[in-house]
Amino acid sequence: MTVRVQTGDFDVGAEIARLRSRDRSVGAVAAFIGTVRDVNDAAAITGMTLEHYPGMTEAALEDIVADARRRFDVADVVVIHRVGPLVPGDQIVLVGVTSAHRGMAFDACEFVMDMLKTRAPFWKKERTPEGERWVEARSSDDEAARRW
């Protein structure tokens, strides 16, 4: 299991290669990469700053991954989440999961993202031409997390 919170970018290819190299029984790799959009709620987005709660954020991500490993038959999981200033097109988050077969890898990857969206302490502040604004939590994220 790898959990990292960092300001710098990450190399998806290198991270997936590292994840796969540990276990030859792996037959499936599922990955989700979240990126910064240039539009949100009908406003142009010129950038955003991601804030976290050092200590709790890492612990929350580790708890989510541990929960995923109890629920799904997965080989390994990587979660990398960036903080600090970002611009449209930047990568924000990587969740990668390896498993023997695709079903568990897809499910575990989606589970980790749904839990991350509702339980991991990160906050986005967007920059728009009209000024800065904190992103509001979406009820659709709560509904997605309740499915599990």
Binding site: Y53, L116, A120
Partner: protein, 95 residues
Amino acid sequence: MRDAPASTLVSVRIVYLARLREAFGCGGETLHLATDDTPTVDSIVETLVRRGGAWADELAPGRAVRFAVNQKLAPRTQAVANGDEVAVFPPVTGG
């Protein structure tokens, strides 16, 4: 003659994050709660709301606010003890 109830002083470190840190104009403070009962997250909220202004607005009933005690998500009913770290923040928006 009976003694008065012993009021104990519970000191907790409060951390404000994201929009609430900006609304309150500070990243945290140490709060001293004089209490006869075991204080809870709700006792802290009541103490802060009594300040009025942004505190009363942001922590008003019905506003979406989340709490963590010692860096674990906690309900408002959770007890807090001397030396605990209590974080107060808006619903999370990462990912």
